[in-house]
């Protein structure tokens, strides 16, 4: 039980409204961890806190023991934590290839260099090609990212997230808005690219969650009410009441 990302007593308030209430969460190195919860439970806010987009009101977030509170998103990314977005968030006026290459630049130590020519960097271009092949967009490399289909843009979103080689990857609803076939392909892709890495995923699609996750945490009204393996979560009374139960009521 070697925890790589740990949240202790994390709270976040916007004005008087407490969105995240004293969340404790341990992500174990190498696991695939899903966070589920009804709409408005604060899942995206939690991501925004971990990745430095919002500042934490209280508590501490540690990546391999290193405190993340107060760091900028780019500093957190450099520590080896990458995220994808619920709403597709790509560089639409750059080519697909350029999107991936940009995502590789920092991790390959180019930093803010203005003395390297990108097209002459053999290794950089080869690795960009490899990522493109991995996400299945090899044939689209010279197209502008903005004109890709929705599913392709989601793949590119994933590609940008993993290209930098981060070993902790946070995905925010990676299959939202996809057809069943597209979602299945996407899950396979996610499994492939997260091999040997730690994966945290927020998802609404229960099929995807139970297929993908080693462990599941349930977030309701800003609190984690249960964490455990899929079987435990399925049978947890509190979860059934607070989350699955409410779904049943809606169905009835």
């Amino acid at each position: 039980m070697n925890s790589i990302l740990s949240l202790t007593g994390v709270s976040k308030s916007f004005d008087a409204t407490e969105i995240i209430r004293s969340v404790d969460l341990d992500i174990i190195e190498g696991e695939r961890h899903a966070i589920i919860g009804p709409n408005g439970a604060g899942k995206s806010t939690l991501y925004n806190l971990i990745t430095g987009r919002y500042s934490v009101s209280q508590g501490s977030i540690r990546l391999r023991g290193r405190e993340l509170a107060g760091l900028q998103p780019f500093e957190i990314n450099r520590l080896g934590l990458a995220r994808s977005f619920q709403v597709t968030n790509i560089f639409s006026n750059l080519t697909v290839f350029e999107n991936i290459r940009c995502a590789l630049l920092w991790s390959m130590q180019y930093r803010y260099s203005f003395w390297h020519l990108v097209r002459k960097q053999k290794q950089l271009n080869e690795e960009s090609e490899q990522v493109l092949q991995q996400i299945g967009l090899g044939a689209r490399k010279d197209m502008l990212a903005g004109v890709l289909t929705y599913a392709e843009q989601r793949s590119l979103e994933l590609g940008i997230t993993i290209a930098g080689g981060a070993d902790v990857i946070l995905l925010d609803e990676p299959v939202a808005g996809m057809s069943h076939t597209e979602a299945d392909q996407s899950v396979e892709l996610i499994k492939r690219i997260s091999e040997g890495k730690t994966l945290v995923v927020v998802e609404h699609d229960m099929g995807v969650v139970f297929n993908l996750a080693d462990r599941i945490s349930v977030l309701v009204y800003g609190e984690i009410i249960a964490t455990g393996v899929p079987e435990e979560i399925r049978n947890d009374i509190k979860v059934q009441e607070a989350y699955l139960g409410s779904l049943d009521e809606q169905d009835a």
Partner: protein, 416 residues
């Protein structure tokens, strides 16, 4: 293959730069060419901000002007033998001071793009322009500061007393500066500037500080604007408040936008075109600034990608071998559009002549035709021509659009 072609473009550009004075050797055309060269560097540096970095600046003339003032002061120091420097290196002084000032201003103005950046640039621009009338010692008040380039040590026997020598000095700098700015756009810092322009937030999640990325582009833009200012100092041997005020800042924005911000050569096209309008068109009509304004409005409304952007959207049809389908529709719409344009110009010129012409003089020459503006007939005829041409343009445009759609159709199929 692409590499060889790229090299050929640069060699051809160099050849054109070297041969131009042979084709246009009058005093007037040389001075126009010199102005063009300076403007090209200035506009390209502006596009490092606007086109490549997504920063809309209303105060870019500050770096041009300050670089120029430092260069002209240096000329005077050289004349007074405080230090010595060949005139050919003077733009470097302009560049370094442009850079220095950009480092200072950029350290706080590049925190955000968008409105915040635009407003800060406007404020700084106004502030420096106001300073130029307060600190008379440095800026020379309304008369400005003048110098004498021929007082600098000779450079391999050139004393730059001749306009032609100055032309080659400027051409050399245009080539080097353009090459350097192009190469910058091909480096990690240049590529990531494009990414930050498109989506600053995502850039932070791939490890880049949007602020730092903008700051680097901003410094580069300040440097090359300063180089252009230094060349201005050499060419005109005088700098005034006009060179760093909002009008100059506005001009560089206009020409960059009209030329096209999305293509590297866009600002070059804009700089050449606007310099021609300023120098040549202004000989023919007092209304030239109105036409430049109309051109800008038309660009913003009908072709936001600029002139080069309009050319670029034809590459799809060209690659599909369907460009020919567009020739006839272009001519059928283009001819009445041209007539409409001429008729509008005619009306504006007649109005200008009628209101501001010499008292008692009614005859003017319009498109090689003698016109009596006191008679009502020229007005009616021109209005009729404008109305007819306008109607034809409106009636024929749908055909052009459908021809455009069919010429680009194969892409749609390839995409899905």
């Amino acid at each position: 293959m692409a590499k060889v072609r790229g090299l050929l473009v640069w060699i051809a550009s160099l050849a054109v730069l070297l041969l131009l004075p042979g084709l246009f050797d009058s005093v007037l055309s040389l001075s126009i060419l010199n102005q063009m060269g300076i403007t090209i560097i200035f506009a390209l540096s502006y596009n490092m901000l606007l086109g490549q970095g997504g920063m809309l600046s209303f105060g870019h003339a500050v770096y041009f002007g300050l670089g120029g003032f430092m260069a002209v002061h240096s000329l005077n120091y050289i004349e007074a033998e405080v230090f010595s420097l060949p005139v050919i290196l003077l733009p470097l002084i302009g560049g370094l001071f442009g850079l220095l000032f950009a480092v200072f201003i950029g350290s706080f103005s590049t925190r955000r793009a968008g409105t915040v950046f635009a407003m800060i640039s406007l404020g700084i621009g106004e502030m420096i322009a106001a300073c130029s009338l307060i600190f008379v010692g440095f800026f020379g008040g309304e008369e400005g500061i003048s110098g004498d380039r021929t007082m600098a040590p000779e450079f391999f026997g050139f004393d730059f007393a001749q306009d032609l020598e100055v032309y080659y000095l400027i051409a050399g700098w245009v080539f080097v500066a353009t090459l350097l700015m192009y190469l910058f756009s091909q480096t990690p810092a240049g590529r990531i500037a494009n990414a930050v322009r498109d989506n600053p937030e995502r850039a932070e999640f791939i490890g880049y500080s949007q602020r730092m990325v903008r700051f680097i582009s901003f410094c580069g833009a300040g440097f090359f604007a300063g180089v252009a200012g230094g060349l201005f100092a050499i060419n005109y041997e005088i700098l005034t408040e006009e060179n760093l005020n909002a009008i100059t800042s506005g001009n560089v924005l206009l020409m960059t936008y009209i030329g096209g911000t999305g293509v590297f050569v866009g600002p070059i096209v804009g700089a050449v075109l606007l310099t021609l309008l300023q120098t040549v068109l202004s000989n023919y009509t007092e209304l030239w600034q109105l036409y430049v304004g109309l051109l800008f409005v038309a660009t913003v409304m009908f072709m936001p990608a600029g002139l080069t952007g309009v050319l670029m959207i034809h590459t799809v049809a060209w690659k599909n071998g369907r460009l020919r389908q567009l020739i006839l529709p272009y001519i059928t719409v283009g001819v009445p559009a041209f007539v409409l344009l001429c008729a509008i110009v005619g009306l504006l010129e007649m109005l200008q002549f009628y209101r501001h012409g010499v008292v008692g003089e009614h005859e003017m020459t319009l498109f090689f035709v003698s016109v009596d503006t006191s008679s009502v007939w020229p007005w009616i005829v021109t209005l009729l021509i404008a109305a007819t041409a306008g109607y034809l343009v409106k009636a024929l445009t749908p055909r052009l659009l459908s021809a455009w759609a069919s010429a680009n159709a194969p892409l749609e199929r390839a995409k899905t």
